[in-house]
Amino acid sequence: MSTQEHTVTHIHRDDIGARMGMWLFLFTELLLFGGMFILYSIYRYTYPDAFHLAAKDLNTIIGTFNTAILLTSSLTMALSIAAIQRDRKSLSIFLQFITILLALGFMVNKYFEWSAKFSHGIYPGSEVLLAKPSGEIVFYGLYYVMTGLHGLHVIIGMVLIAIMMRFTYKGIIKADSYVKLETVGLYWHLVDIIWIFLFPLFYLIT
């Protein structure tokens, strides 16, 4: 045995483990929103007419447009990973950037939607809302909380992707080491999947 004094600093790299950890985290997100989907389904069952009526007030066109935006952002995210796997650094950064732009577009639309509702006096705790029948109050409560929480996750995703852009630029994410980008990609796709279910349940039940 040698007599040097050093201990092993094992640079423990486990890409599969990293992805596994992220998937497990995604399950928690799935169940977080799942809890709210449970709420939605029970209340929808309880107040079918009120939900039907209230959903009419939501703008299906903006909703559909937002769905398309988010689906496209999922595409650009997946493509950005494919790009870095093929050592196309600039392409990857560009695609990550487009993803962020699309997410921004989604949030801008959301802002317009919400402010339109606010200007009509429909927001949690407002007199206008509280004067409506119970089922509609619950509908809007669910609408604001679920799309609001979803929007928060979109913003978090934008920040994460921006950080990944910087990592890619600096070469921390590269062709033979890109698990960070993959895990952020997984997070982003889940945000997309949640919207895939939110969209029909709120906008298309007329």
Partner: protein, 101 residues
């Protein structure tokens, strides 16, 4: 290469594959919106959910690479989904039988 860094193209598809999936997703979205206009009663919700599930499945398997990961990952996802679905079912087993006035 360490065994826990797999060959870097194992977990990937061609650009074209991703674009094809995206086209399918957009098409399914169009279908969902179109169907929503037709009144099928209770079936409307079911149809919407089925189409959403297909879209979700595509994102999971292709965009999130679930298809190319090891079986363990697919078992994980199934466990999580089954738990969510069973909770739904059990909850409705109570709610659908409450006598409401």
């Amino acid at each position: 290469m360490e065994k826990n860094q797999e060959k870097h193209l194992d977990n990937s598809h061609s650009y074209g594959n991703y674009i094809l999936v995206w086209l399918a997703l957009m098409a399914l979205t169009a279908v969902t919106v179109a169907v929503a206009g037709i009144n099928l009663g209770g079936l409307t919700v079911a149809t919407a959910l089925i189409i959403a599930s297909v879209k979700g499945y595509l994102v999971l398997t292709i965009f999130m690479h679930l298809k190319s990961e090891s079986k363990t990952f697919r078992v994980f996802v199934s466990v999580a989904l089954i738990f969510l679905i069973v909770s739904f079912i059990l909850l409705f087993s109570d709610y659908s039988f409450i006598a409401r006035n």
